[in-house]
């Protein structure tokens, strides 16, 4: 029995419950937030270590063996994603101590954050497709409530689009699960994969694959289903933006990786071709959208979309190297993107604005902040020796080896345009002199202690980026091993259903 499989789900749920008990005590909620996310980070590292040592770990809930009960399955990809959840959760919890504000905390900011983390971790660890739907909903409900904390006008407008499109995607997902159950009579993903190979009407299987692709594509903000993201991600409090930017779309990407390597891998000529063009267009539209923006968080939101394209490109090429690239890209992107949003929050706190034209002079006044911005920004654009360079390099090399020259050219061009966007922020926020009086919003004084609480997670995440960039061997080995597991669905099925593969309902 390995308790570490269930702990990354149980710990945030428990921390959420405990902080609900201390509804009136601000101090206790804060302590639980930091303690709970730190515990989540520790157990997730424990989980990754044991998965790395022992292979795919399976836990049958309530002692009901697969395929009858719900199984929690931790393979390397799932465990890596849980570790990233832990890192981001801990960083955002620390950052929230300085930015959340009394009003937000009084309406349950921290309990919702724990609930969101539980939903995300659950989605990464479940081995049951209906259970995946349930975790998606847990995550969504928490994110709905976090998005509208504060009830400002832009938040309401953003939330209506976010809620509608995400509910639509959930309904499509639910219908697809229902139809899949009608076809194969099981909900366990390993069992589905085994039985789907025996289904005669492959046309129906492709139709179902498309339904899953649309459902997860909306969650992952892939082209042409991404419009909810740039309309809403720049509206909530900045810590919430950072949490969403790091984790939520990546749950969609993870679900695409899981479903299209384990279940729907029989006709890659059809499904993966569509994914390939979707990936190319996602990259291009995202980066072009960012080029037209002049608001810090809107630029970053559009870059989430364009980066999602690289990850899906890794999945769509469907060669071992490409999957390694995709997994590596996810790891690099979650850390870097969250970090950029956190930096934008510090800038906002110091100068009271996200508009580029109202900002300026940070290189002179806060040179350390300029360095902390440059590390994730250049990494996002793919400048060596930072983590983004290696991630892009692997994906693009896989593209050339697979002779998909069109999308590879797009990927290279998008890298260049990303650099343009980052240079735009650099020039406007850090390099240019402060705009004359009257153009600048009056900004409040920031206490030194709060500033430290905001800088510490940013510096920590920047160190992670540098570590991945300068010493990539262990990370690359992890990505390689998880890609090997993803491309060998038989191993996953054996681990869940047992060697004999029996079990007829």
């Amino acid at each position: 029995m390995n308790p570490e499989i269930a702990l990354p789900i149980l710990i945030p749920l428990m921390s959420g419950a405990v902080s609900l008990v201390f509804w009136r005590s601000r101090l206790m909620q804060r302590l639980v937030a930091v303690g709970g996310t730190a515990a989540l980070l520790l157990t997730s590292v424990w989980l990754l270590a044991s998965v790395n040592r022992e292979g795919i770990l399976v836990m049958h809930m309530g002692g009901w063996t697969a395929p009858f009960g719900i199984s929690l399955v931790a393979d390397l990809l799932g465990a890596i994603m849980v570790v990233l959840t832990g890192i981001i959760g801990f960083a955002v919890a620390l950052y929230s101590l300085a930015t959340a504000g009394r009003g937000h905390e009084a309406y349950g900011y921290f309990p919702l954050m724990h609930l969101l983390l539980a939903g995300v971790a659950g989605a990464f660890l479940t081995g049951d497709i209906f259970n995946l739907y349930v975790w998606f909903e847990v995550m969504l409900v928490a994110s709905f409530a976090l998005l509208i904390l504060g009830s400002e006008k832009p938040q309401m407008e953003g939330a209506i689009k976010y809620v509608t499109l995400n509910l639509l995607s959930s309904v499509i997902f639910l219908i697809a699960v229902g139809l899949l159950y009608g076809m194969v009579g099981t909900l366990n993903m390993a069992d589905i994969a085994r039985r789907l190979a025996e289904v005669e009407e492959q046309g129906m299987v492709d139709a179902l694959a498309m339904m899953f692709m649309v459902a997860f594509g909306i969650k992952a903000a892939a082209f042409p289903l991404f419009f909810w993201l740039p309309a809403s991600y720049h509206t909530p409090p900045v810590a919430v933006s950072a949490l969403f930017a790091g984790l939520l779309t990546k749950v969609g990407v993870y679900a695409l990786f899981r479903v299209f390597t384990l279940i729907f891998h029989h006709s890659p000529g059809y499904t993966h071709e569509i994914l390939l063009w979707g990936a190319g267009l996602t990259m291009l539209t995202g980066v072009l959208g960012a080029a037209a923006q002049f608001e810090f968080r809107r630029i970053l939101s559009f870059h989430i979309v364009s980066q999602i394209g690289y990850m899906i490109l890794g999945l769509a090429l469907f060669t071992p190297l490409a999957i390694i690239g995709g997994v590596f890209y996810i790891m690099h992107h979650i850390i870097v993107k969250t970090n950029l949003f956190l930096v934008s929050g510090i800038v906002h706190r110091l100068r009271g604005s996200y508009q580029l034209k109202r900002l300026g002079g940070f290189y002179r006044s806060h040179p350390w902040l300029a360095v902390l911005f440059l590390i994730p920004a250049l990494s996002l654009a793919g400048i060596p020796p930072l983590s983004g360079f290696l991630a892009k390099f692997i994906v693009i090399r896989a593209g050339i080896e697979a002779e998909a020259y069109g999308v590879t050219a797009i990927a290279l061009l998008v890298g260049l345009l990303t650099l343009y966007s980052m240079i735009k922020i650099w020039a406007e926020v850090f390099w240019k002199s402060v705009p004359p009086e009257g153009d600048v919003d009056p900004y409040p004084e920031v206490r030194q202690r709060e500033l430290w609480l905001m800088v510490a997670p940013v510096a920590g995440l920047a160190l992670c980026t540098l570590f991945i960039g300068l010493y990539p061997a262990p990370i690359h080995a992890l990505a390689e091993a998880s890609a090997a597991q993803l491309l060998d669905p038989e191993g996953y099925i054996r681990a869940v259903l047992g060697a004999q593969g029996e079990g007829t309902p």
Binding site: V141, E152, M156, T164, L167, I175, V177, G178, G182
Partner: protein, 115 residues
């Protein structure tokens, strides 16, 4: 029975999408409600409508005898109904708050955060 149910599900979906494409946010929420009900009915129908006995295993046996109904879709539908109920009540509150703050029932007047 199946064709009747299929027509009902199709009508529900059509009505839901029609409502969601209107500009009013209240109609949007009505559309979402119809959509989740259509999905629930679809799951109910996918596993096949069997006139079978309840799936109980008689004493001394390891499998139920004769034709039994599949209980799992009903469990799924039950879960989905509960989730949809929670989410939709959130959506109703959201629409009310949005109306209070934006003072408009028209999606075309909520374009400030768009790009």
């Amino acid at each position: 029975m199946e064709p009747l149910l299929a027509v009902a599900i199709g009508t529900l979906f059509a009505a839901a999408i029609y409502m969601m494409l209107r500009r009013s946010i209240v109609k949007l929420v009505i559309g979402l409600m119809l959509l989740s009900n259509a999905a629930n009915l679809l799951i109910f129908a996918t596993a096949g409508l069997t006139r079978g006995a309840p799936p109980l295993v008689p004493e001394g046996l390891t499998a139920p005898e004769g034709v039994v109904a599949d209980p799992l879709p009903q469990a799924l539908v039950l879960t989905a109904i509960v989730i949809a109920f929670g989410v939709l009540s959130f959506a109703v509150v959201l629409v009310r708050r949005a109306w209070e703050i934006v003072r408009a029932d028209d999606l075309d007047r909520m374009k400030e955060t768009d790009t």
